[in-house]
Symmetry: C2
Subunit: 269 residues, 2 copies
Amino acid sequence: MSREITGFSNPLVKRIRSLRDKKHRKREGLFLAEGLRILTEAREGGVLPEMLFHAGHATDHPLAIELIREMEANGGDVIVTSADILSKISGKDNPQALVGVYRDRLTPIKQLDRDSADIWIVAQSLRDPGNLGTILRTGDAVGAGGVILIDDCVDPFSVEAVRASMGALFTQKIATARWGEFITWLRQGPGQLIGTSLKATHDYQEPRYQSPAFLLVGNESQGLPSAYEDQCDLLVKIPMLGKADSLNAAVATAVMAYELLNQKRNGRS
Amino acid sequence: MSREITGFSNPLVKRIRSLRDKKHRKREGLFLAEGLRILTEAREGGVLPEMLFHAGHATDHPLAIELIREMEANGGDVIVTSADILSKISGKDNPQALVGVYRDRLTPIKQLDRDSADIWIVAQSLRDPGNLGTILRTGDAVGAGGVILIDDCVDPFSVEAVRASMGALFTQKIATARWGEFITWLRQGPGQLIGTSLKATHDYQEPRYQSPAFLLVGNESQGLPSAYEDQCDLLVKIPMLGKADSLNAAVATAVMAYELLNQKRNGRS
């Protein structure tokens, strides 16, 4: 059953709009994802929104029609509203025609099945939502299991991170942990912890990486704390020929992740 | 000689602030770069700002002192101002302590020396300033010669692009061209034009790339127009194991660029 909301002061509109703030996302355990492409990725990954807001014309698209039909069959809350209210919810002048409200997707670290994938990404104090979303997207592409967020990372359920993930947020596991907790869990089973560091002497193409590999990426401006580097099984460096001494965090992660994938594909690891 | 400006309504403050808009940047031929790190990269690349704004305390840092000294020796305009005015200029609540005003750095495509580098990046209708800045930063890292911007790309001199480039904007050549103009120039000399495409049958690690290689990256949501793909010497695909059918544009560029660099390093091309 669809219902219609047209009033700006409707309490549900206010509540959903408040999900743009981390505080409210945390309290409600809900987050927003926008646009048919991301909502379809989610559905294909078996994840339906709890609520769906759409301007009436969205139902012109066959994928939107399928999504709404499936939600209705599962008792989901489908709300027809105006472009102005979608704009209010998403905070954008040109909102997407569909906004989904999803239950947050954190997995307790102890429930991660490390053997389910060859690559895991471990992000430490990452601050930029675009970088985190892009790393999730790359994780999906290389067949990673998911991303473990260490210390004070940006919220993976922020609108910007969700958008940059292009839906990978729904295919990648996401866990959060303090460093000590992560290391304790990691050392209870197989897993090679690999950091990139300016101090490293090994070129990143030199080692034969093992599975599961845990790729550790540090904060955008500080890099990894030395104490964390010391606990890595391998420290490697990506060659840089120019003036700059570092790559963008999402780029460095992708260059490393593709090296791991390529070694696997080429039978070198 | 340093001078001091403390008034918000000072015409120069207004003029410099207006450089946050593309229209004004274009008219003035000037752009803004913020922060000691980026300004130092520029200086090390031999580029000084025409004007420098700083809050007095910035001169505590030895690199800032050197920059100011060098500017003064070259007749540059060094302006001491307040944190509030820096905030007004940069549009940020916590502005950097230094803001430089630089002459724009476009190189006419006919003046590019294609033999000066093994890799060139060609970006077509790229829309996101963060992606463009990140691509410039990656270009610096792989020793690329520069970036050629095709059709309607985002302005490389926007504050966001400059920031994401982390100073690579000052080490990479930047040219703009319409597609036809670019192809005409390209075919007047050596150069392999390489596109990434979902339609490609070759894995990106299969070909032995030639120098100079021109890596063509398309618009974030549309990819490359078919007509442009048809003019590539090689179309390759980056493997993707997950749900998503594309990588972030800056990530795809980096994965390709490092493959080219690695072939060179490993003597395979």
